[in-house]
């Protein structure tokens, strides 16, 4: 089934990747600069913000799904957009789920780097915006792992996409929701095939990231 490229399977895998990669991309666009900014800016209540961020990393997907469902449902505040039960709604839910993860991990990595770079960059007179950009770029190899962590969490989660997507065949069915459904229906071959693909994708991404990091470390120190 996997090797034959069953069109049903291909569609599900493609949607999964599309949704989770979009979510990881958007969450990174928000989380990387935000995490870096928190790391280099001393302000009152920073500790509290860090504790909250770390706590948000453990947000239960079903709760996020429920909240996004309420926001996007026809009677909800964002109901006018009419995106409930579409891939867009799934992306929204996953962004909310993984943006705190990306932000919190990025903050930690940038804070560690900041220790080393602080005096040098202050001496050069870099503005805060430039500090953020410089640190994000200089720590890019470590931060790439953060991106992967975000993507991994998005690709593996089932609760939020199930609630806001609705697991509609051909429209919002992704790997995790399909596995849940097929298993409960007793169609174990499809469930297993999807499970296998999911694991392979996550493994391949992590192996790739590791290789990139190793090479970069050797080349740039």
């Amino acid at each position: 089934m996997v090797t034959a490229g069953d069109p049903r399977l291909v569609q599900i895998v493609a949607l999964s990747l599309r949704v989770s990669l979009s979510a990881a991309f958007i969450a990174s666009a928000i989380g990387l600069p935000l995490g870096a900014l928190i790391a280099v800016t001393p302000f009152r209540g920073r500790r509290a913000v860090i504790v909250i961020l770390n706590a948000l990393m453990g947000l239960p997907p079903v709760v996020v799904g429920l909240l996004v469902y309420l926001l996007l449902s026809r009677a909800g505040p964002l109901g006018a957009f009419g995106i409930l039960f579409t891939p867009a709604a799934m992306v929204v839910a996953q962004v909310i789920l993984i943006a705190p993860i990306v932000t919190a991990l990025a903050r930690q990595i940038v804070a560690d780097g900041w220790e080393e770079y602080r005096e040098q960059l202050q001496s050069l007179g870099a503005t805060r915006a430039r500090l953020v950009a410089t640190l994000l770029w200089d720590l890019r190899h470590s931060l790439f792992t953060v991106l992967l962590a975000g993507f991994g969490r998005a690709a593996a989660e089932v609760g939020a996409v199930m609630i806001v997507g609705g697991n509609i065949d051909g429209v919002t069915r992704v790997m995790t929701t399909a596995i849940a459904l097929e298993t409960s229906k007793g169609d174990l071959p499809l469930a297993l095939a999807l499970g296998l693909i999911l694991i392979v994708i996550v493994l391949a991404l992590n192996a790739g990231a590791y290789a990139v990091k190793e090479t970069a470390q050797r080349r740039y120190g």
Binding site: Y117, E119, L124, G125, A126, W137, D138, R219, Y220, G221
Partner: protein, 245 residues
């Protein structure tokens, strides 16, 4: 080719007015007043924990004094922060090429991109790293990285260059090369303010010595006088290696 600081009117002298710096309830700098003037190479010496590095950071503005004032009081002190540079004991290199590290400093300082390349090359030439300009900065040796740090500071044509034990973690050969570059930078008109606990180096590079002890400025004298006829008991003991603790 233009050498030397680009401003006609200096930011110097630097006035330290009764500055104190406390950390953890301890006076690291315990009431120092001094004026650092253009020209002579100023070398700050003293035993470990005397507050040398902290004093340098207070001068450069990386730390703020808990009391007292650090004031640039030259005829033209606009953009004073951009007209000084610092080289640290351990150079911090960005994960990019040697050339890009120098160009980065120029970019931050607001030089237009067309000027950066020529200036950066010139600075790399001065420190003898032109052939390594494309190499990633972080894989250079310790001595090469420190030379690169000097190039990065020098490319800004600072009026004042602060250095915190720039050769402390280098072997003698590399240290000698750094000393040569410091000499060249000074000859081109940059004021040198340097911390070292290598007394041989202080002798070779210093025109005047500031001797710090337990956060106080105990003695200030021309180099030859400090080393031959120190005026204070503390300096005599320090030079004899009989450190009083």
């Amino acid at each position: 080719m233009k050498v030397g600081p680009s401003h006609a009117a200096s930011i110097l002298p630097l006035c330290l007015e009764a500055i104190f710096f406390q950390r953890g309830g301890r006076d690291i700098i315990d009431g120092i007043s001094a004026q650092i003037v253009a020209g002579p190479r100023t070398v700050i010496v003293g035993p470990n924990g005397a507050g040398k590095s902290v004093l340098l950071r207070l001068c450069h503005g990386l730390l703020q004094p808990t009391a007292g004032v650090v004031r640039w009081s030259g005829p033209d002190v606009r953009n004073a922060q951009q007209r000084q540079a610092m080289v640290f004991q351990r150079p911090v290199m960005l994960r990019r090429s040697a050339f890009a590290n120098v160009a980065y400093a120029l970019e931050v300082a607001g030089y237009p991109s067309r000027e950066r390349a020529a200036r950066a090359h010139e600075a790399l030439e001065l420190v003898g790293l032109a052939s390594l300009s494309g190499h990633p900065a972080r894989v250079l040796s310790g001595g090469e990285q420190q030379r690169l740090a000097l190039a990065r500071a020098w490319t800004l044509r600072p009026e004042v260059l602060f250095m915190d034990e720039p050769t402390a973690s280098l072997d003698p050969g590399a240290a000698q090369e750094i000393e040569r570059i410091i000499g060249a930078v000074h000859a081109a008109g940059t004021k040198i303010v340097m911390v070292t606990h290598n007394l041989g180096q202080a002798r070779r590079l210093g025109d005047e010595i500031l001797f710090l002890h337990q956060g106080r400025l105990i003695e200030r004298a021309p180099t030859d006088i400090f080393f031959t006829r120190p005026a204070s008991v503390e300096a005599v003991q320090f030079l004899k290696g009989e450190l009083p603790w």
